[in-house]
């Protein structure tokens, strides 16, 4: 296992496996040319993970498996979008979908970006934030946790 270390603002010095770096095939909107990330679990029993940039110590996103919060989530990905990640019928188990969370001043107002999930081809460690064409899902989907 080839390891490397990077400094991060939230987690300090982080060691990672260079073969597990996730390479975005396209810019994440808003972050020009910052395409290399690693996944850091938030904590032992936490459903959250972090997508940490290895090129910019301050850049990280809190992400979660969308189905933990939205059971019926059906992100419809077009063939060309899947092709851009080299995902086809044979990829099955290695397709990962992550939702980026936004936490404003009041944590109660936290939202999930269901409109633009991050899709990862875990076999090849390629990723992309794909914008779904449907209007059914919101960029700021509220997470109601009073139920």
């Amino acid at each position: 296992m080839d390891k490397a270390k990077i400094g991060t603002t939230r987690f300090g010095l982080v060691e990672f496996d260079v073969n597990k770096v996730i390479n975005f095939v396209d810019d994440i909107p808003g972050f020009y040319d910052l395409r290399r990330f690693i996944m850091i679990p938030h904590g032992d029993n936490s459903p959250l993970s972090w997508l940490q940039s290895i090129d910019q110590p301050e850049l990280a996103f809190a992400v979660i498996d969308p189905w933990l919060l939205f059971e019926d989530y059906k992100p419809d990905l077009s063939e060309s979008e899947l092709a851009s990640l080299e995902i086809d019928e044979t990829t099955n188990g290695e397709l990962i979908v992550l939702t980026v969370l936004t936490i404003p001043e009041n944590p109660q107002d936290m939202t999930a970006n269901l409109k633009a999930p991050i899709i990862i081809n875990a076999k090849q460690n390629k990723a992309k934030q794909i914008v779904l064409s449907t209007d059914e899902y919101l960029i700021k989907q509220p997470i109601s946790y009073n139920k």
Binding site: R10, F11, V25, D26, I28, P29, G30, F31, H42, G43, N45, S46, P47, L48, W50, L59, A60, F61, A62, I64, L68, L69, S80, A83, S84, V100, L101, T102, I103, P104, P107, M110, N113, K115, A116, Q129, V131, I139, K140, I143, Y145, K147
Partner: protein, 82 residues
Amino acid sequence: MLVLTRKQNEVINIGQDIEIVIFDIKDDHVKIGIKAPKDVTIFRQEVYKAILKENELASQISKEAAQAISDVISQKIAKKPL
């Protein structure tokens, strides 16, 4: 910016690999078909800008804020009947 006028069914080429076709013109909107290589991303500008803004907001999240919601989410998941 290059500005062109096209009629229905007419085509515009961008480079060797991108093709834009005017499919339908009706009232105040136009239906456009776009053919491009799979590594070229096509999006409605206002949607892209909204995603961009949201990503910037999302990236400001602190570890402490994440911890606060992590507990809440764990509880929510735990309460769900199997």
